[in-house]
């Protein structure tokens, strides 16, 4: 943390020289794109890792090239699982929605020239990149990548290589990487919060902020309050591993026939509490920006104000607060006091209320609207679909009695992938198709976009819906191979189906990559406001100039979603349009 004021201010002229301009830039737009491309690289690696796991599950005895012994060993499967989860959660679902889109669009949407602390912003990105490289390096160290999952539960993660090949150097790299990531996220969230509080344009009340800004703001607050706790836990884990302390490592532990001496009776449950105190807010850190984008896009493409704007902002805050009070629902089977399970269960169910308010308001926004099914809109509707599907299974898992049965099964895999994985990814896709014209000055191809949407939408359901049945049937997760368990043989056709669906869905992403790359150079030139939208990012050039508004900083006169205002000359009234030009009085509708 740098307590000193850094008096760097972006010059209005863009800095000369390739490195200052595109690499070590303090421009929030360049940093946003850097985060975006980092997340694209990470998601590609994450998908490849998941495909390797799926192929192994469908054909457990398959002969693998480049693997010694021919078949995949269980510890190699666990390493794939650990790295898939870690890369996806931290470097995709945390990086893209907040780091990439938040960075690029939060300052523009509130009418600011940049983030409050541009140099700290640059530092956040470079820390994130360093963390990512450190994580990837875990593949290359002796013993390979860690095998303790993205949650790194001790004592598996606390003892070193005696618990598995990746638990030596690989686990150390994991801890260092996530530690750096924590610092990067803390710096970034300080910047987001300060920018939202201090850098808003005149007239930009809180009740005039786009719901995307609300979502990024609440996300940043959650990230500010949760990553510090994870950092503290990581430091204790490092000390257990290297200094012989007993924060988490119990006494008298026998691992692989070897007594682990010197530990005085640590408590693995303590790690679980600390980790999930971070880990559960992290789930909302991944999904809240997607909720913001979905509200924004659905209003835009329904040509209607967001139904219940204040309720939408209030439920974002409610989810942000409740998100800190229900971490224990990840720990129903941990041996925690059953009475606390009851409390966590009740709190978990209560988050269904704001979630349902959001869902009904999305439907209410579309109701009676002149809906345009452009690709961003399709992905936002897909977001709502996956959020509901994944959320419903959450109601079952929130009951401790049911969770005891389902916790270690594919039911949970289906649940969290649909609600936080796929839904959040659909939010990222929606944001990409929606803001691509603003970021790069060209439109993406609509036909390819729609093809990409339908293949991904159907494909993702085909991958994860069967897992509900597998889970209820008793299909245990995290196991590399259960061919020894005869009762699970009946699940093999479902695994084969899910694997084929995963391969097809992954192939469909090539359409997205092709569309992205070819649109960069060959896409139709985008106008300033191709979606006929109301918020400030559409009031400036595509892509925006260095100070975002070329010196003509906007004043805000109305709420963010004034679509189809009665009496207005056109069906959208931009936020920055003075009343005398807009044809409607200031703040005519209040969503």
């Amino acid at each position: 943390m740098n307590p000193l004021p850094d008096h760097v201010h972006p010059a209005v002229a863009s800095p000369s020289g390739f490195f200052r301009r595109y690499v070590f830039s303090t421009d929030h737009k360049v940093i946003g794109l850097q985060y975006y491309f980092l997340a694209l690289a990470a998601v590609t690696i994450g998908i490849v890792l998941s495909l390797l796991m799926r192929v192994h599950l469908a054909w457990p005895q398959a002969h693998w090239p480049l693997v010694t012994g021919g078949t995949l060993r269980p510890e190699q499967y666990l390493a794939l699982m650990t790295m898939h989860g870690t890369i996806m959660v931290f470097f995709v679902l945390t990086t893209a929605p907040l780091g990439a889109f938040g960075n690029y669009f939060l300052p523009i949407q509130i009418g600011a020239p940049d983030m409050a602390f541009p140099r700290i912003n640059m530092l956040s990105f470079w820390f994130t990149l360093a963390a990512f490289l450190c994580m990837l390096a875990a593949f290359a160290v002796p013993g390979g990548a860690p095998i303790s999952g993205w949650t790194a539960y001790p004592p598996l993660s606390g003892l070193g290589s005696v618990t598995g090949p990746g638990e030596g150097m690989g686990q150390t790299m994991w801890i260092v990487s996530i530690g750096i990531f924590c610092i990067a996220s803390l710096l970034a969230s300080i910047n987001f919060i300060t920018t939202t509080i201090e850098m808003r344009a005149p007239g930009m009340n809180l009740t005039r902020m786009p719901l995307t800004v609300w979502a990024w703001f609440v996300t940043a607050v959650m990230s500010l309050l949760s990553f510090g706790a994870l950092l503290a836990a990581l430091i204790m884990l490092v000390l257990d591993r290297s200094a012989g302390t007993s924060f988490f490592t119990p006494a008298g532990l026998v691992v692989n026939g070897e007594l682990q001496s010197g530990y005085s009776g640590g408590w693995p449950l303590l790690w679980e509490h600390l980790f999930w105190f971070f880990g559960h807010p992290e789930v909302y850190i991944a999904i809240l920006p997607g909720m913001g984008v979905t509200s924004h896009v659905i209003s835009n493409f329904s040509r209607k104000p967001v139904f219940g704007y204040r309720a939408m902002a209030a439920t974002l805050c409610a989810i942000g607060i409740l998100g800190f009070l229900l971490w224990g629902h990840h720990m129903f089977v941990s041996g925690m006091n059953p009475y606390s399970s009851l409390a966590f269960s009740a709190l978990t169910l209560s988050i269904g209320v704001p979630s349902a308010v959001k869902t009904f308001n999305w439907l209410g926004t579309m109701w009676g609207g002149k809906i345009q099914f452009d690709t961003p809109m399709l992905f936002s509707i897909g977001f709502v679909s996956f959020f509901v599907t994944g959320g419903l299974s959450g109601i079952f898992l929130a009951q401790p009695a049911l969770d005891n049965l389902l916790h270690a099964t594919y039911y949970v895999v289906a649940h969290f992938h649909l609600v936080m994985g796929v839904a959040a990814i659909f939010g990222i896709f929606s944001a990409t198709y929606y803001w691509f014209p603003k970021m790069f000055g060209r439109m993406m191809d609509e036909t390819l976009g729609k093809l990409h949407f339908w293949l991904t939408f159907v494909g993702a359901y085909c991958i994860f819906m069967p897992m509900h049945f597998m889970g209820i049937y008793g299909g245990i997760r995290r196991y590399a191979d259960w061919t020894g368990a005869t009762y699970l043989a009946a699940l093999q056709p479902l695994h084969l189906f899910a694997t084929i669906a995963a391969l097809v869905t992954a192939a469909a992403q090539l359409i997205f990559f092709y569309n992205f790359v070819s649109s960069l150079t060959r896409g139709e030139k985008a106008a300033e406001n191709p979606w006929r939208a109301t918020t400030l990012e559409w009031s400036t050039a595509s892509p925006p100039p260095v100070d975002n508004f070329a010196g003509a900083f906007p004043t805000v006169y109305r709420g963010p979603y004034e679509y189809s205002v009665p009496g207005a000359p056109q069906d959208f009234t931009p936020q920055h349009l003075p009343p005398e030009l807009a044809g409607v009085s200031e703040g005519a509708t209040h969503a």
């Binding site: 004021p5 602390f117 910047n191 920018t195 005149p202 309050l225 430091i235 303590l270």
Partner: protein, 223 residues
């Protein structure tokens, strides 16, 4: 927290870029007029450090609550920090030193605001020195604990003692670096005034956190 309260409490005069009056969260956005809108308002740095301290507070809250939970863990291996009775008077003395540094810092800040640059520097350096004395005192306390045969891994109580004091010490060390950097800055720079305010908020917060940690260690670590 109400941002204008922050500004009032910290005594920061709003510059031309600050929002005039007591404009609140709901009464209107950002900055006045177009003048200087490409700049971050001075007040944003105060807001930033207050928010950063929220993260610091969560970090220490996690460590302290971990200590509470670990102490009550079912293995019952927690041993009070006995045999190092001399450490508590030393820590009490260190607490006084850090507390005194907050007073000298306030005085220094007042000197700077009344334009007395020499007075500002004198008391600012005294503050930095008191910070350094505090750190030296903490190291001396460690020596006492080591002398009593209590190392990092001896018992969870000693582990948390070292962990909490080291984590706090690192934050104080960062504060001393900030103090020294500002001491070298020329007086007339607008940036220095903001830097003084930001560092003051941070330094007082480190004092408050230490008082909490000291009481926690004293009442939680001995028995």
């Amino acid at each position: 927290m109400h941002e204008s309260e922050v500004a009032d409490r910290t005594g920061l005069t709003l510059g031309e870029n600050g929002r005039g009056g007591r404009g609140g969260w709901f009464s209107g956005g950002g900055r006045d007029g177009n003048a200087g809108r490409s700049r971050t308002p001075e007040r944003a740095y105060i807001t930033g450090i207050v928010i950063a301290l929220g993260a610091v507070a969560m970090f220490f809250a996690a460590l302290v609550s971990a200590a509470v939970v670990r102490r009550g863990s079912p293995s019952g291996d927690w041993q009070p920090l006995r045999g190092a009775s001399t450490v508590w008077p030393i820590l009490a003395l260190n607490t006084m030193v850090l507390l005194a540094s907050s007073f000298t810092l306030s005085h220094s800040r007042l000197r700077a605001r009344s334009g007395d640059d020499a007075g500002f520097r004198r008391w600012w350096i005294v503050t930095s020195a008191l910070g350094a004395i505090f750190l030296a005192g903490q190291l001396f306390a460690w020596r006492q604990i080591v002398g009593a045969g209590l190392y990092l891994a001896t018992n969870p109580s000693s582990s948390f003692f070292y962990l909490l004091t080291a984590a706090h010490g690192a934050h104080v060390a960062a504060g001393i670096v900030a103090l020294l950097v500002i001491a070298c800055r020329p007086a007339r720079r607008m940036a220095r005034r903001t830097a003084i305010e930001v560092t003051s908020v941070y330094w007082h917060a480190m004092g408050a956190i230490w008082i909490f940690l000291f009481l926690f260690l004293f009442f939680g670590g001995r028995s």
